[in-house]
């Protein structure tokens, strides 16, 4: 309601900052080039190439789909050109996950993964769950049947697994193109998806063409798979264009921050999995921690913190909650004497079953975390993502290689994929846990949710006849700043907890400096007027990379938003949590972004 009132009563003062400061947003998606005089006469023709299938995103889902497609093609001796475009400079460099992998989907895809050297080196040996208070820890027994139980699973460095999947994909003949981002969806005359176009290069920061400007390339395909991961930017456009979300709940998310630590050998317990809930979050803020001891020859632990993005206090900083959690008496001893070697962050899905959109449209399909198949209480989404990729491949293959192309639209429509998914273990699994996350929305918050899980999941296995709803979009959950109290976070001590900028440096993130910021604002005046005015600039706190800063104007009166786009780690949290939904994340020049190594 306040947004509607605000847009009517738009004060004149808000126009002044816009006129005296240079444009924040110069990207051509907001300021089209065909109306821009600087682009007159620039050659905009694109080179186009044809493939049978184009897959956007070289993560577990995309690579599983690619591998399965080529496996089927090779088995039936058919020629199939499968191209994967991936914005990361090398496969696995933008992958970030805890992670405890359930190997079910991998075994279905590549049964001899062990002989082929898949990096699943750490079987889970100990499973520990705690509720933390400020000083103490309440242990919770990990009984078989509880979703968090990890028997039979492996602790993996997901980036390494994705890299290995990339090698397997190349072996079966998939064409991988890391370093090239899919920037645009292409459409046939009849509105079906024709393929994608990769990003243009050589545009200056102010939006004008540089000498080295080159258009991206068009990749046309009979069918395009979109596996961009959580909250993909092309998927966002497709939801609107094809109305894919009209019969499902809005997706809800969390942000996951992660670090890799080389610890003291005496503290190392390979195969140990620790999870906690409670402190430092209050009972009404969903979230918790993980700490996994890897077993790959050196005392390495992967640890991190997840905060549900439906939090209400704009003063909350997920990064600082993470840093202060590390000081808890149960956690700090493991890290003492150790050295932090990596940092990163990524948004993840929490909507589960209720938020799965329509998955197919003429010319394309959605796979993996993009539509969102994460099992939230298990905090695992990789096995379902891979299975969705494989099911997509299996549904597409017969239609692609049929004697006559059976499609009413120019782009192939494959509704069989959604049917197959509904009949698979993915659907059953997600249905069984569908009520656990929404059950946290009660007066007792965390404790109500845990009681619900104990009764309805552990005893009744999710067979209750009702389906709880989410609370609406995450962006709408923030309360105005004046209704909330700022949180006093402790200063980082430089040994266990750290400041934001040194953490961002460890992600290895970098972008070509002279390009339009890829965090585009639909309206440049809204951040100061609304985000800062009403919510005290929450983007300064929820961005795990320090991209957003409110700095004083040169003239001295008032503030402006400064976007440090080079720091971005492509987590997508800003696009999700911006209370004004003014930020639209688009792909930067391919090859930019974090340089994660086995995260």
């Amino acid at each position: 309601l306040d947004w509607q009132l605000f847009s009517v009563l738009q004060p004149a003062d808000s126009m002044l900052p816009l006129m005296s400061t240079p444009r924040i947003t110069t990207h051509y998606t907001i300021h089209p080039r065909d109306k821009d005089p600087r682009w007159e006469g620039v050659e905009m023709e694109r080179f186009a190439d044809e493939a049978d299938v184009v897959i956007v995103g070289g993560g577990p889902a995309g690579l599983a789909a690619a591998i399965r497609l080529k496996q089927l093609a090779n088995k039936h001796e058919k020629e199939l050109r499968v191209c994967v475009v991936e914005k990361a400079p090398q496969i696995g460099a933008h992958t970030l996950s805890g992670a405890c992998l359930e190997p079910s989907a991998l075994t279905e895809l590549i049964p001899d993964w062990k002989e082929r050297g898949a990096p699943l080196n750490t079987p889970v040996t100990e499973d520990v769950f705690s509720i933390l208070t400020e000083k103490y820890r309440i242990p919770v027994p990990m009984m078989p049947g509880l979703p968090m139980q990890n028997h039979g699973n492996y602790i993996v460095r997901m980036g390494n697994l994705v890299r290995w999947l990339g090698e397997q994909a190349e072996e079966v003949g998939v064409e991988l193109y890391p370093g090239y981002a899919a920037a645009e969806v292409l459409f046939h005359e009849d509105g079906s998806v024709k393929g994608i176009a990769t990003n243009d290069v050589g545009i200056a920061k102010d939006g004008s063409p540089k000498d080295i400007f080159e258009r991206g390339m068009e990749l046309h395909a009979k069918v395009t798979l979109f596996g961009e991961g959580c909250h993909g930017h092309l998927a966002k456009q497709l939801y609107k264009k094809f109305n894919l979300r009209e019969n499902c709940e809005p997706q809800t998310y969390a942000i996951g921050l992660k670090e890799l630590w080389m610890i003291d050998e005496k503290k190392w317990r390979p195969g140990r999995v620790e999870h906690s809930v409670g402190w430092p979050l209050d009972r009404n803020t969903y979230g918790g921690s993980f700490l996994y001891h890897l077993n790959e020859g050196e005392p390495l632990v992967a640890l991190g913190f997840v905060v549900g993005l439906d939090y209400t206090n704009p003063y909350l900083s997920p990064f600082r909650e993470f840093q202060r959690w590390k000081h808890h008496p149960f956690v700090a001893p493991t890290l003492e004497g150790g050295q932090r070697i990596a940092y990163g962050a990524r948004a993840l899905n929490e909507g589960g079953f209720q938020s799965i959109p329509k998955l197919t449209f003429p010319g394309g399909l959605l796979i993996g975390c993009s539509p969102g198949f994460m099992n939230v209480p298990k905090i695992k989404g990789t096995h379902t993502a891979m299975k969705s990729g494989m099911l997509a491949a299996e549904a597409i293959f017969p239609k692609l290689t049929a004697e006559t192309l059976d499609s009413e639209t120019a782009g192939l429509h494959v509704p069989e994929y959604a049917e197959n998914l509904k009949n698979s273990w993915v659907w059953k699994e997600l249905y069984a846990v569908r009520n656990i996350r929404p059950s946290f929305h009660n007066y007792f918050g965390l404790y109500g949710g845990m009681i619900y899980t104990g009764i309805f999941y552990w005893i009744f296995r999710g067979k209750e006849p009702w389906t709880l709803k989410h609370c609406g979009t995450d962006a709408n959950q923030l309360k105005p700043a004046k209704e909330c109290t700022p949180i006093e976070y402790p200063k980082p001590d430089g040994k266990i907890s750290f400041d934001l900028l040194s953490s961002v440096a460890l992600s290895g993130t970098n972008h070509e400096g002279d390009q339009p910021p890829h965090l585009t604002l639909k309206d440049d005046s809204i951040p100061v007027a609304r985000n800062l005015g009403i919510y005290d600039g929450p983007e300064q706190r929820f961005c795990p990379a320090g991209v957003y800063e409110y700095v004083p104007l040169d003239t001295g009166d008032g503030m402006r938003l400064q976007i440090n786009a080079q720091n971005c780690v492509h987590c997508k949290t800003c696009d999700i949590k911006d209370p004004s939904q003014n930020i639209n994340w688009v792909v930067p020049e391919g090859g930019g972004g974090p340089a994660y190594n086995g995260m």
Binding site: Y177, T198, V201, E214, D499, L506, T509, N510, A595
Partner: protein
């Protein structure tokens, strides 16, 4: 004159990545770390391709010495406009010991073999910062050298070069054949676009060469004793009144790695 240019390209750890010393102090961690073409080598490739576009030279050959992954670096050079690639296969212990002297010997041998008119290199690599390969190659071939070039123009069979030196800019004129090393302001490298990368993947134009151990790889090795990270910087004191101004240092800045070694 063959009109052929050899361009050296080196695969190095990407400049934005934070380096980490291996726990056993034998070097830095490279496994899985993001690598890319040395930025000065990119500038050298761009200059070579520009000369070809101006029709002043006929063929650009990209050379890289290293393991299997160096082929990716060569492919990037091909996508930028090089005609052919030569991958000199050096891996394992040989690759760890590979230094400017060994690379110069290889380049000198290739230059004679390919009848090259010009060798274009980056002025230095961002991992070892040696700034020696260009100069050594020229000495081995007894060719003139134009190092730290910020402007290159061909005039008949001579080259006009502007060099960036401590005192400013130096203009020299050298005969061909010659070795030129590129400095930062020579040009702005173009992007390796996807259609060109696809082309270079389809048409496998990279030859594989095995270097000669006795004459190239085993001579003049510099033994590496250990690699250590520098100590954390301590805060300094501000002595604004003194002759020498000390600036206050902040601890916690990113660490840089130094190599300790003994030259025989």
């Amino acid at each position: 004159m063959s009109g052929r240019v050899l361009v050296g390209v080196k695969r190095v750890i990407d400049y934005a990545v934070k380096i980490r010393v291996k726990p056993d102090n034998t070097g830095v961690v490279t496994d899985g770390v993001k690598h890319s073409m040395n930025p000065f080598c990119e500038i050298a490739v761009e200059e070579a391709v520009k000369l070809k576009e101006k029709k002043l030279i006929k063929e650009v050959v990209a050379v890289s010495c290293g393991p299997q992954q160096s082929q990716e670096t060569i492919r990037t050079a091909l996508a930028m406009g090089a005609d052919r690639g030569i991958h000199v296969d050096v891996s394992g212990k040989d690759y760890e010991n590979l230094g400017p002297l060994q690379v110069s010997k290889i380049l000198a041998a290739l230059a004679k073999q390919e009848d090259a008119q010009l060798i274009l290199l980056g002025k230095q690599a961002i991992d070892d910062d040696c700034n020696q390969t260009g100069q050594m190659t020229a000495a081995l071939l007894d060719w003139p050298q134009g190092t730290f070039a910020s402007e290159v123009s061909l005039e008949g069979d001579k080259i006009n070069l502007v060099r960036e030196i401590d005192g400013g800019l130096e203009h020299i004129k050298i005969n061909t054949p010659a070795v030129i090393t590129a400095d930062l302001r020579l040009n702005t490298p173009r992007y390796a676009t996807l259609p060109n990368i696809m082309d270079s993947l389809m048409n496998n134009e990279t030859e594989l060469h095995k270097p000669n151990h006795r004459t190239s790889l085993c001579v003049g090795l510099i033994p590496l004793f250990e690699t250590v990270a520098p100590e954390d910087m301590q805060g300094g004191t501000d002595r604004s009144g003194a002759m020498l101004r000390h600036t206050v240092l902040q601890s916690g800045k990113p660490k840089r790695i130094i190599l300790s070694c003994l030259c025989i």
